[in-house]
Amino acid sequence: MADRTDLLQGTLDLLILKTLRAEPLHGWGISKRIRELSGEALQIHQGSLYPALYRLEDRGWIAAEWGVSPEGRRAKFYHLTPAGKRRFEREKADWRHFATVMERVLESS
């Protein structure tokens, strides 16, 4: 597991939504936060984050503005839209459901 670099697409989306649920972040911030939250267990290819961000933006679940990072650099900050918040709740529920089912299947004798 620790070696996984590829993630299911939906999983990456969920992780991004989760990360942005707390606060607006720029792309690098999101990738750093995911690494931290997962205890470095989830290693995503940093580049693959961006297509995912654009896709979520296209769906209208996140939106972005240009701003200035604490380091004084111009950066694009993403935040969740109301639709994105609803989407996050649903994906979270779906994921939990999926996990429970998998758990049950795997634990059955």
Partner: protein, 876 residues
């Protein structure tokens, strides 16, 4: 709403494409910088940090490409790029683009125009409730040569009581009377007497006021009228206070009770040439059951009961017919004839419209063939370009997509122009058509027609460019590039297209030629009356000024006598229904004394009330006997040769007796006239009986003056009438030549449309032949150059190049002539005195097409004789 937002973002993104690319660059640069700084902070050397950051990120270009895809709307950007490319490419070859766009605009525009007319006149349902259930019912009296006679009163009562499949049977009777509205001149108008259920049966309530009450068609009810919208506007200036007002019909007073909706129009037949439609509707106040059983005077309009099939209604009518045939008609083969109202309405005009519609289809096919040839030529020129692009990796789909983009741009431009063309075309057509084209007011360029036109443009464009595009894309680039001359093969396709074009042009040219020959023959035909040198002046006498017959008779006697003395007038008379005036009246008559029942001796004829001298003034010849004699009590009539031949075959009619149906007065036949075609220059109609005006005076008569220069008499005729009665207006003043001209309007309209199409077809086919020859010549230039260098005769070379185009023309002509023969049934109805396979016309078409084709082929072929063999060989 999310999808809406998404599209908004995509479109906005599209508009700011370059900016988004820049943003993506900035964002990635920011990410790499942050990662590098973080690594440096953790103690890495800047160089190593830079390398590790890039490694962790992955391929930048790959991420950007994925990012573009992920953003959605990618295809819009591609499409936009393709369209931009297409516009650039089309602007690069303006000649090709202009021809493509203009061809599409004209072809589709013309089709949309004609479709608009056909749709408006033939296809749109009539403005009644559930019009498909309305039937017109006629008496089929084939045994006396009248396939559609009006019904008798008792028959209508029988239908009403016995036909359970009919929800109702309404009666209508067209009539003409002198109508005087308050403050207006008296004018003879056509209006329709109807039973009180008429508007209920049609399902059309008046727009203003009320309709007829159920008891208003009984004898003795007050006379009331419902105005048509047009008449209300023209005679009452659309004043809504007209309800309750009075108008004068002949000598009785009528009350206006309602005004009909704008689009309401009731007619039982229509053509592109003759007027129809009533000014208003009045209540028919008679007891139908008490009408004479031999008097066929009533139109029957029935509505099939809900839930009953038309077939069932018809079979019930057949049963009732059989009974009436036995009981009333002595088993001589009477039957009710029923026909859908709409079917009957368009019966006369349908053949012409279908031929025009067919012609437009043919023209469209020729146009498509031309576009295909054009595209094919263009692609063969661009073969190298495509091959190079394919060689450097452009996918086949990409090439096809680019071609489609070009087509779409052309088609869209052509389609938009076509809308304009259709709009102009329809306006021109409405202007050129006789003002009484049925439902003319309903014509318009409607969005459906335009939409169909646009789709048609795109379909034609895609179809004509996709095939060559696929062909080009399929070819191996290496092969094309290796070829010395970048010509694409596929010569068979343009060859077949030229054959098709020539064949279709043959059909169009032949049809137009046949119509032209018909029109020429029709104008030379002898309709039984003089077609020029006659002035016609109609008078509608005011009933108040001429209350009794004696005064009416006296007035016309005096008018004709004075008119005959006018300088320049060669003969003068007066008549109730002049030729081609659409004002004839039918009556029943018999040559034997009347009996109580129907003995089958009655016949229907066109009644013509005339003064002595009318025949001479109108140029109607006498076959036998003499003209009507002057005098108030001459109980005599003239019959025409049609009646004489049918009823007095082998003997003379002169001296025999004639009776009006239901009348015992004996009128002696004193002469037999030529048959004058009162309705149509090209068709004989019912027999005619001329009745002396003096014994049955009519208030509405037309003065007929024979003169060398009739139009010069107009002023003196006005003067003459004013001199006899200053208060009496002339309703209509025209010449017989103008009348004849107008009666040919429909044929002329169809002819000019077809002639236009045929000329366009000829032009297109010629262009096609030119194109094929010219590309064949270009392909064989090298070969011809060698031959020429070896000493071949220039003229022989031209002949070699021409052989193929001439073969194609020959094949096309043969196919086209076959098509003409196959379609002869369709055009036969429009022809007059010309067979659909008229040899003179067909030979003319063959000569014309061969000449045009040879000329078109010779121009490029003659290049061969001028070419310098050395230059050609050096070119590659």
């Amino acid at each position: 709403m999310t999808w809406l937002g998404r599209w908004y973002r995509r479109l906005r993104g599209l508009a700011s494409g370059p900016e988004r690319e820049r943003e993506m660059d900035d964002e990635i640069r920011f990410h790499l910088a942050m990662e590098r700084d973080a690594l440096i902070a953790s103690g890495m050397s800047p160089r190593e940090a830079e390398r590790r950051a890039r490694l962790a990120f992955g391929g930048v270009e790959r991420v950007k490409e994925d990012g573009r895809d992920a953003r959605g709307g990618r295809w819009i950007e591609d499409l936009a790029r393709d369209l931009r490319g297409a516009v650039r490419s089309l602007l690069g070859s303006p000649g090709y683009s202009a021809v493509m766009i203009l061809s599409l605009a004209v072809g589709v525009g013309a089709s949309a125009t004609i479709f608009g007319v056909v749709n408006g006149v033939l296809l749109k349902p009539l403005p009644y409730a559930d019009p498909s259930r309305l039937l017109l019912i006629w008496d089929g009296l084939d045994m006396v040569g009248v396939p559609e006679a009006w019904l008798t009163g008792p028959e209508i009562e029988t239908l009403r009581s016995d036909a359970s499949t009919l929800a109702g049977v309404s009666v209508f009777q067209a009539t003409r009377q002198v109508v005087t509205v308050p403050g207006g001149d008296p004018r003879q108008l056509e209006f329709t007497l109807v039973s009180s259920d008429f508007f209920d049966l049609l399902g059309t309530p008046p727009a203003l006021g009320r309709g007829f009450r159920p008891d208003e068609d009984r004898p003795g009810s007050p006379l009331v009228v419902v105005l048509s919208h047009d008449y209300w506007r023209s005679a009452f200036a659309g004043d809504s206070g007209v309800i309750g007002g009075r108008i004068e019909l002949d000598d009785s007073q009528a009350t206006v009770i309602g005004v009909l909706p704008e689009r309401f129009h009731f007619a039982t037949q229509s053509s592109l040439g003759t007027a129809s439609g009533a000014a208003f509707y009045a209540n028919l106040r008679i007891d139908l059951a008490a009408e004479h059983p031999g008097s066929h005077g009533f139109g029957g309009l029935a509505r099939v009961a809900p839930g009953v099939s038309l077939d069932r209604a018809r079979s019930e009518l057949a049963v009732i017919s059989a009974r009436l045939d036995r009981e009333v008609y002595g088993s001589r083969g009477f039957r009710f004839v029923s026909i859908g109202l709409h079917e009957r309405l368009v019966r006369e005009v349908r053949p012409a419209l279908l031929v025009v519609l067919g012609a437009i289809g043919v023209l469209l096919a020729i146009m498509s063939a031309n576009l295909a040839t054009l595209t094919l030529t263009r692609f063969s020129r661009r073969g190298r370009e495509f091959a190079v692009r394919a060689a450097i990796g452009a996918g086949r789909a990409r090439l096809v997509r680019q071609v489609l983009a070009e087509t779409l741009v052309c088609a869209a431009a052509g389609g938009l122009l076509a809308g304009g063309v259709a709009w102009l075309g329809l306006r021109a057509l409405v202007g050129a058509a006789p003002a009484d084209l049925p439902r003319l007011t309903e014509l318009g360029v409607d969005p459906v027609v335009l939409g169909v036109g646009l789709l048609l443009a795109i379909a034609v464009g895609v179809a004509t460019s996709l095939l060559p595009a696929l062909g080009t894309a399929r070819r191996s680039p290496a092969m094309v590039l290796r070829q010395a001359s970048p010509a694409i093969g596929g010569r068979r396709a343009p060859g077949a297209l030229v054959v098709g074009q020539v064949a279709l042009s043959t059909v169009l040219l032949a049809t137009a030629g046949l119509l032209l020959a018909s029109l020429a023959r029709l104008m030379r035909t002898d309709p039984g009356f003089a077609t020029h040198g006659v002035l016609l002046a109609r008078l509608d006498l005011r009933p108040s000024a001429y209350p009794d017959n004696a005064r009416v008779a006296e007035l016309y006697r005096e008018l004709t006598a004075r008119a005959a003395e006018l300088p320049g007038v060669l003969a003068a008379g007066a008549v109730s229904s002049s030729p081609l005036s659409a004002a004839t009246q039918q009556r029943g008559g018999r040559f034997r004394p009347p009996v109580a029942s129907d003995d089958g001796e009655s016949f229907l004829f066109d009644a013509v009330w005339a003064t002595p001298g009318y025949l001479e003034a109108m140029g109607i010849g006498l076959v036998e006997g003499r003209d009507l004699a002057p005098g108030p009590d001459r109980m005599e009539v003239l019959i025409d040769e049609t009646l004489a031949r049918r009823h007095f075959a082998g003997g003379s009619a002169v001296g025999r007796a004639f009776y009006f149906e239901g009348d015992t007065t004996r009128l002696e036949i004193v002469g037999v006239t030529r048959h004058a075609r009162l309705y149509d220059l090209g068709a004989d109609d019912r027999g005619q009986v001329y009745v002396p005006h003096a014994i049955m005076p009519r208030r509405t008569m037309t003065l007929v003056l024979k003169a060398d220069d009739p139009s010069a008499l107009a002023a003196s005729v006005r003067e003459l009438v004013r001199g006899v009665d200053p208060g009496q207006p002339l309703t209509d003043l025209t010449t017989i030549a103008a009348r004849v001209d107008r009666s040919l309007a429909e044929r002329r309209l169809v002819l000019s449309l077809l002639a236009g199409f045929a000329l366009a077809a000829l032009g297109l086919a010629t262009m096609g032949i030119y194109g094929v020859t010219s590309s064949a010549v270009a392909e064989r230039m090298r070969e011809m150059g060698i031959r020429s260098a070896l000493g071949a005769d220039g003229r022989r070379l031209v002949w070699t190049a021409l052989r193929r185009p001439l073969g194609l023309i020959g094949l096309g002509l043969a196919l086209g002539l076959g098509g003409v023969a196959a379609l002869s049934g369709l055009v036969r109805g429009l022809l007059y005195g010309v067979a659909p396979t008229d040899p003179a016309t067909l030979i003319g078409v063959v000569v014309l097409l061969t000449a045009a084709g040879t000329l078109a082929g010779t121009i490029p072929a003659s290049r061969l004789t001028r070419c310098d063999p050395l230059a050609v060989l050096r070119a590659d």
